[in-house]
Symmetry: C2
Subunit: 314 residues, 2 copies
C-alpha cells in the first residue's frame, strides 16, 4: 500500500520529506518513478500528467494540495474516485493576508508613492481616501471570500460580496445572480476575485465587466485583484482596460498560463503587481498532516472530508 | 473674534475653505497676515513660527491639526493656554491602515517580489511565514496603538504591545517599563513605533535597541515600522543596522528632519519604504468640524476635549 506524489511544475522533495517525517513506515513513491502501479492506493497531486491517475488500478482517493481543483479536473481521463481538496484555516488566513495587503496597497496608492520615493520626492498625493470611503467588492463567498470580507470590513472598508447563490454574512452587503452582479459591480471601486474556475466563470473578468465597475469612486479608477484562478481573466482585456481607464491598477496572483510567460506585458506594467501564484501558499506540513489524517480516518471506515462535487467543479 | 491659521510647511488654503464652508460668518486670518492681533481668540496650528502664539493678547485656545503636539511644544515661548490635539476615529483608522499595510508588506516580502517582477522572474521565496508565525510588537498603547494591535491580531499576527505604564488589552500581551521593554523586544520580529515624541523617547530607536530585537524570527531579519515621530529614530543607526543585519527592512513615515533631505540614503535604500508623513492624514473637513464644535462648546462654558497634559507632553 503506497502513496504517490504526482506533481508537475512543483518540486516534490519537501512534501516527501514531510510525509516521511510524519509517518515513518509510509511507502512513498514520486512520479514518474511509480514502481508497481498496483501498490498505489492514494495520490497527492498538483497538475497531474493526464492519464496517470487512470493507470493506477487500486487507487482509492485523490488529494489535491490546494483548495482549487481545476488543476486536477483538467485531466480528461480522471478516474471516478473521491477527489479531496485541501481546506484549512491557515490557507484562509494566508489568502486574507494577500487580499488585505493588495487592497491596502492600492487604496493607499503605494505604487505612486514608490515612484515618488525613487525620485526622492516628498509629496502628498490627492485624493488619498480612507478605507471608509472605498468600496471593496469580493467575488465568491465561500470560506475564503467570507473571511476576506470580514477582515476588510474590520479594516474599515465598505465591503460587499457576490456569489452565484444568495449568502448572508452579518455586516456585509451580499449580492447574487446575474441581476445582482450589475448592482454589485456598479458600487465597487476595488474588485477582488476569489471565484473557482468553472465553465461559467471562465473569462468573466473581461472588458465588459471592467466597464461596469464604479466610475465615480474616490480612487483615480477601479482596481482588480485576482487571487482566485487565472482562467477567469482575459489578460489582453486587462491591459486594454488599464490603457483606457476602465481599470486604474491591478494585482494579479494567477494567470491564463502559469508560470506567466516572460513575454507578457503584465510583468512590467507600472500599475500591475504580479506575484507567482503564492497568495495562499499551502503550508507543506499542514497539507501532509491533513492527508495522513484523512487516510487514517478513511481506513477506519469514516467519511472523507471536503470531497469535491464534480458536478459543480469545487 | 477671529481664528488664526498658523501653519509652516503646510498650505492653509484647503483648511481656510473648509472652515468658511462650515461656518459662513467666521473671521478667519491666515498667518502671517494676522490683522489686529487683539481679535484673535483661537489658533489652528501646525509647526507654528516660535513666538507668534505668545504675541496674541486675547488668545484662549490652541488647536493642533494632528494627534501629536511636539510640533507645537517646540515653541519655547508657548503661552500657558489649553492646547487641544486632534483625536478622531478617522485618524485612528488611517493609522491602522498604514500599520497593517506595512506589516503585511514585509511579512509577505513584497519588496523582494517586486524585484523579481522587474526581472520577469516567476519564483517563490522561502521562508514566507504566515501571519500566525510572525510576532509584531507595537510601541505605544494609546488610542492609535491599541487599534493597531487589535487589527493586526485580527489578521492573524502574534501581537504584543509595550507602554510606559502597564495596559490591559484583551488578547494582546502587554509589556511595560524598562524591564518589560527587554522582554518585549526579544520576542518581536516586526517593531511598530507609535510612541509620542517626549524627552524620554527621543532617539530611542537606535542601534542598541535594534540589536535587542528577536534574532531567531521567521523572516530574514527584524523589521522597523515608524509611523509615530521622526525624532525617536536615529537614521544613521537604521542605515547601519540594515547593513549589519540587525534590521532586515524598514518602513518610515517620519524622519529626524522633514521633508526628508534629498541627500538621505534612506530614499534609495532597497529595503526601505519612505512615505511623506502621510500615514495618518487628518481629514481636513473632520479637523475643521472638530475645532468649530469645540469652540462652540467652550463658548457655552463646556469643557474642552483632548487637552494636552503639558507635563507628559501628550
Amino acid at each position: 500500500m503506497a502513496l504517490l506524489i504526482l506533481f508537475r511544475h512543483l518540486k516534490p522533495d519537501r512534501y516527501k520529506r514531510e510525509l516521511a517525517a510524519l509517518e515513518g513506515g509510509l511507502d512513498i513513491r514520486v512520479w514518474p518513478d511509480c514502481g508497481d502501479l498496483e501498490d498505489i492506493r492514494h495520490a497527492l497531486v498538483w497538475k497531474p500528467e493526464p492519464g496517470v491517475l487512470a493507470s493506477l488500478p487500486n487507487l482509492q482517493v485523490i488529494f489535491s494540495i490546494g483548495a482549487g481543483v481545476d488543476n486536477v479536473l483538467s485531466d480528461t481521463r480522471l478516474p471516478d474516485l473521491p477527489l479531496v481538496r485541501f481546506v484549512d484555516p491557515n490557507l484562509t488566513m494566508r489568502m486574507s493576508e494577500y487580499v488585505c495587503l493588495q487592497v491596502l496597497t492600492h487604496q493607499r496608492r503605494m505604487l505612486d508613492y514608490r515612484e515618488l520615493q525613487q525620485e526622492r520626492q516628498w509629496k502628498e498625493l490627492w485624493p488619498q481616501p480612507g478605507a471608509n470611503e472605498v468600496r471593496v467588492g469580493v467575488l465568491g463567498l465561500g470560506v475564503l471570500g467570507r473571511d476576506a470580507c470580514e477582515k476588510l470590513a474590520a479594516l474599515g472598508f465598505q465591503v460587499a460580496g457576490w456569489s452565484r447563490s444568495q449568502k448572508d454574512i452579518p455586516g456585509i452587503e451580499c449580492f447574487s445572480g446575474n441581476d445582482g452582479l450589475d448592482r454589485f459591480l456598479a458600487r465597487t471601486d476595488i474588485l477582488v476575485s476569489l471565484l473557482p474556475h468553472t465553465p461559467e466563470t471562465e473569462g468573466m473578468l473581461n472588458a465588459g465587466l471592467f466597464a461596469r465597475l464604479a466610475q465615480d469612486g474616490p480612487l483615480p479608477g477601479p482596481v482588480l485583484v485576482n487571487a482566485g484562478r487565472g482562467r477567469l481573466q482575459v489578460e489582453a482585456d486587462i491591459v486594454s482596460a488599464l490603457g483606457n481607464g476602465d481599470l486604474w491598477a491591478a494585482s494579479l496572483d494567477v494567470f491564463e498560463e502559469e508560470p506567466l510567460p516572460s513575454s507578457s506585458p503584465l510583468w512590467t506594467h507600472p500599475r500591475v503587481i504580479v506575484t507567482p501564484h503564492n497568495a495562499s501558499i499551502s503550508d507543506i506540513r499542514a497539507v501532509c498532516t491533513y492527508v495522513l489524517e484523512q487516510i487514517a480516518a478513511h481506513d477506519r471506515g469514516e467519511p472523507l472530508q471536503n470531497v469535491v462535487d464534480l458536478g459543480r467543479g469545487y
